[in-house]
Subunit: 599 residues, 2 copies
């Protein structure tokens, strides 16, 4: 049997339909543990599996949706976790035959992860890892993480499954009316996070019935070339005359959506709550001999928060990485970080986003404090006050991993260098946690004097990242700004290095700008000129203070000039907003004056 | 006999010594016309020539120093101009033999040219052209324009000789104690102007004796690879006991300077007032079998005013071409130009130079006025109030030629295009008047959309200029700024075109900057960003408003960044000056306040 992922290139595969509703039909009561039936009523399970195999399923799913330690504990069955999961795979395998894949279902824990809830990333990671390992050992062919409503829980599950097993993984979120998950993630953001984590198939299940899911799959198809999966439910549940929950949509009506899913680019079609073998049979007939719609493989550099996706690209506006959450030379911020107070972090996050930051760099490098804890608190604070992706700025491995576990989304790691120690510690973490990584062009010999030398380090970093399976678009390069006052002859090497990186490697580029003017008077003048030059050379994402008006003005003007700001819309908005703000300020002033006069 | 210019590569040639003092020895009285002796005492002339040939002169000079129409008129001999000059060449030729060159001497008119005096360029041009044509027709091998003390007169003479004859030309200025000519020109500025005009040999004569002339030839040797000539006088004239003017330096003492001249790189050595056949004989002995010192051929783009030379080079600070003398959209300036009033031109010239302009663009394009006259007046005004080179900005051939005749120094012509009509009219004028020329990258088909297209036009302009004998360093290229609001996608083509021009042609580049922001709000922001990008790409000389502080700040910062401002000296000065000015302004304010308080 060839690998499922390979087959998805040529065929649309059919999953099975609902398990839960089929069990209810066969007597499962509300309040029973559905997965306990694997042990108590194996024949029922085999009957259901068999009905789907007969209906034409290429993949059937194990009855393990709630068979994780936390869910089982609700039924006091945590001690049976191994048996329940093993038995589930065994029952499906006995029915499947040689041509049907066994997909092991993994559902949510039922608890919210930090920072929204109490469950830590680490706890969730262990829960999912444990279940996945049992399922793989029992003989599952793939794992389907499904019905996830929270990005962070999905992320913990996906990381655990990828880390603890070598099985292909489908990951399905459940979306609401507004095309977002319960905790606010839209499909394109989810895709950004899951692709970086190495998901083999990405999809949506349950949700609001097939009609809404067509919209979601269409959207996904525009953002990814990764195989897509859809498992619609049979509409929204309603109560029937006997006060039983039923799913209203008939098999035929559901199956009528299949052509739309195919057109949207789907690769695996199954069903969720309320779907039946009849529906699966109709679905199978519609996909036979159909080749999946081809989708364009975009290789964009993307970062994500829980709710927002930021693309870094030569054709798009220059992205600002806000530099202000950094205690270097800032006494009050240092004190607060040491005291684990996050007021200033919150303020800097909010101010920078209001000023136009696209990404926030978070650095908690105060000596002799618990930086891992400070990083966790700072990232959660940032998460709570703003909605943009972050750059985790540390050279400490433990702090970095704490950050990578805490952050919801796809962060940037700032940074890795060409030094062996750095490559060996940072890159595996980037791969594991689905982060993009910023490569600084320096190595054991320091910063190469020439642009060519820095290109060479960039190539080394890229090669090593790719060897680990990190995609090239997830490697960004910083060609390193040296102070013009100290090394004037190297300024142009930094700029030239950006051009070389673009020409030879095509990677996204990052540069801390303000160091250029260290030790000079009128630093802003040098910073703005350097920024314009760097953007012209191909800089995609400067690290700077977004609240600095001169830098913002130069950035907006530069984007207009290098055609990253189509028809100058950002530029014109920037200045019309300023005009409006001035007008408002004036009016406020007048009002204040009026009030004062009246006193 | 091989050409004199060819021989200068291998040999140091010896000119003759004084004519005037030799004639005085033979009875010429003060107040007599020395050149009339050609007709009245031909034997004396032949005797003197003969003495120099015997002493070893490779070149002897005709007795025609004052034989121009204006000088001869002082003796009522203008009607004999042909005979006097013809006879002079004939007498020298009869003595010379086959191995000695006949150099025809041309001296000053004795009148100052405009704007310092009354003699117009055109008058001077005709006077020198007339004499030169007679001398060539009579059989002279070369022409030596000598003892010139005013750059503009020398320029008129050189242009006339090059235009009216096909003889090689030596041009010698006479310098004073401060190493400048009477009207303020230093050797390097003179070289800049004379090289552009195609002088074959450049030098210094008379002046303050050989010691000072060694300094001048040394200086010249650092700035040019053109063959150098020196004809020292025998020290400064003194009165002897008989109340006769004599030159005190002995032949042997003079000849002792010959090794220093050789070391400085001289190619032709002769003598001026007071020098004798004895000195020439000693000189000849010292140069026999000596190869001239080789000098480095610099191919720098240079412009010059009467007293100042401006080099445009990638390694030097970006040069500002001040754009404010231009009536476009400026009513008051238009009115003044129409009324031939030059107050505002003077003010703009002075303000721009004070603000740091290196070159002043002069445009008098008011419709329906006498632009040729306006150009002449404007250039003379600029000449009188400031000392930097100009760019003559007109598309009208007549106005251009008026400007080229008026201007003292080596101007830039703004501009020629790739259009046949423009190439055919502008380039010959640039060649004739020794101007650098700014090529706009457009042709009959308009402005090419791509950088490659603009490079192609630049190549065409360069080729055509070189075919006319204009050196490549005298061709500058403007890759044309289009308004970002109208043609956003072409902005980068302008920048890329600068890079291409640099890479492929190595020419100096010019760009009018502010057009980039036409139609946009906050124009300064776009202008400064564009300026930084263009400088990074290789822009050498932006056309801009030097009184604009933001542009100045960006320019200074950019130069620091691209390493055109070594160790940031200009940048640091710029800001320390600003600090000082602020302090001064503050103090003034305080004083004013003090005064007010006391009232
Ligand atoms: Zn469902
Ligand atoms: Zn389901
Ligand atoms: Zn003399």
């Amino acid at each position: 049997m060839s690998s499922i992922v390979d087959r998805l290139e040529e065929e649309i595969l059919v999953l099975d339909g609902a398990m839960g509703t089929e069990l209810q039909k066969r007597g499962l009561e509300v309040g029973d543990c559905p997965e306990e039936l694997n042990l108590t009523h194996p024949k029922i399970l085999k009957e259901i599996h068999s009905s789907y195999v007969k209906a034409g399923s290429d993949i059937i799913q194990t009855n393990t949706f709630g068979a994780n330690r936390l869910k089982l504990a609700e039924y006091n069955l945590a001690h049976k976790i191994e048996k329940i999961n093993q038995q589930a795979v065994k029952l499906a395998t006995e029915v499947a035959g040689d041509d049907v894949f066994i997909s092991a279902s993994i559902g949510p824990t039922g608890k919210l992860l930090e920072p929204l809830g109490d469950l830590s990333f680490q706890q969730a990671y262990h829960v999912f890892g444990e279940q996945a390992q049992i399922l793989e050992a029992a003989g599952a062919d793939l794992i389907n993480i499904e019905t996830m409503t929270d990005l962070q829980e999905a992320r913990a599950a996906l990381i655990a499954v990828k880390e603890k097993t070598s099985l292909p993984v489908i990951i399905n979120l459940t979306y609401e009316e507004n095309l977002k998950t319960m905790t606010g993630t839209d499909p394109q953001t989810a895709i950004t996070v899951f692709e970086a984590l190495g998901a083999d198939v990405i999809g949506a299940n349950c949700s609001l019935g097939p009609k809404k899911l067509v919209e979601i799959i269409k959207l996904m198809g525009q953002y990814t070339a990764t195989p897509l999966c859809v498992q619609p439910n049979a509409g929204l549940p309603v109560l029937n005359e006997n006060n039983e929950t039923i799913f209203p949509m008939e098999a035929l009506e559901m199956a009528n959506y299949i052509p739309q899913f195919i057109e949207a680019g789907v690769n695996i079609i199954g069903g969720c709550c309320g779907s039946t073998p009849e529906y699966i049979n109709l679905a199978k007939k519609k996909v036979v001999d159909i080749t999946p719609a081809s989708r364009i493989k975009k290789k964009e550099t993307t970062l994500a928060s829980r709710t927002k996706r930021v693309v870094i690209s030569d054709n798009l506006p220059t992205r600002i990485i806000g530099e202000r959450i950094n205690p270097t030379g800032r006494e009050e911020l240092s004190h607060q970080l040491a005291d684990e107070k996050m007021e200033l972090v919150a303020k800097e996050a909010s101010n920078q986003v209001q000023a136009g930051a696209d990404i926030l760099d978070v650095n908690v490098g105060v000596p002799q404090i618990d930086q891992a804890q400070a990083m966790k608190l700072a990232l959660n604070t940032v998460h709570n006050v703003v909605d943009i992706p972050v750059s985790i700025d540390t050279t400490n491995q433990e702090v970095l991993e704490a950050g990578l576990q805490t952050i919801v989304g796809k962060p940037l790691i700032n940074s890795v260098t060409g030094e062996e120690e750095s490559l060996n510690t940072v890159l595996p973490l980037a791969k594991k946690y689905g982060a993009a990584v910023l490569g600084l062009t320096l190595d054991e010999d320091g910063i190469p004097a020439t642009a060519q030398g820095r290109l060479k380090v960039a190539k080394k970093i890229l090669n090593r990242a790719q060897q680990l399976g990190i995609k090239r678009e997830n490697v960004l390069i910083d060609t390193l700004t040296l102070a013009a006052s100290a090394e004037q002859d190297k300024v142009l090497e930094t700029i030239k290095a950006i051009e070389l990186i673009k020409e030879e490697l095509g990677l996204a580029t990052v540069l801390g700008v303000s160091n250029i003017s260290y030790g000079l008077p009128a630093r802003e003048e040098v910073n703005t000129a350097f920024l314009a030059m760097a953007i012209q050379a191909g800089l995609n994402a400067p690290i700077l203070d977004p609240t600095n008006k001169a830098m913002q003005a130069t950035l907006k003007a530069s984007d207009l000039l290098v055609n990253r700001d189509l028809q100058g819309q950002n530029y014109l908005n920037h200045y019309s907003n300023q005009e409006e703000r001035k007008k408002e300020e004036k009016e406020e002033k007048l009002e204040t004056t009026d009030s004062l006069t009246k006193l």
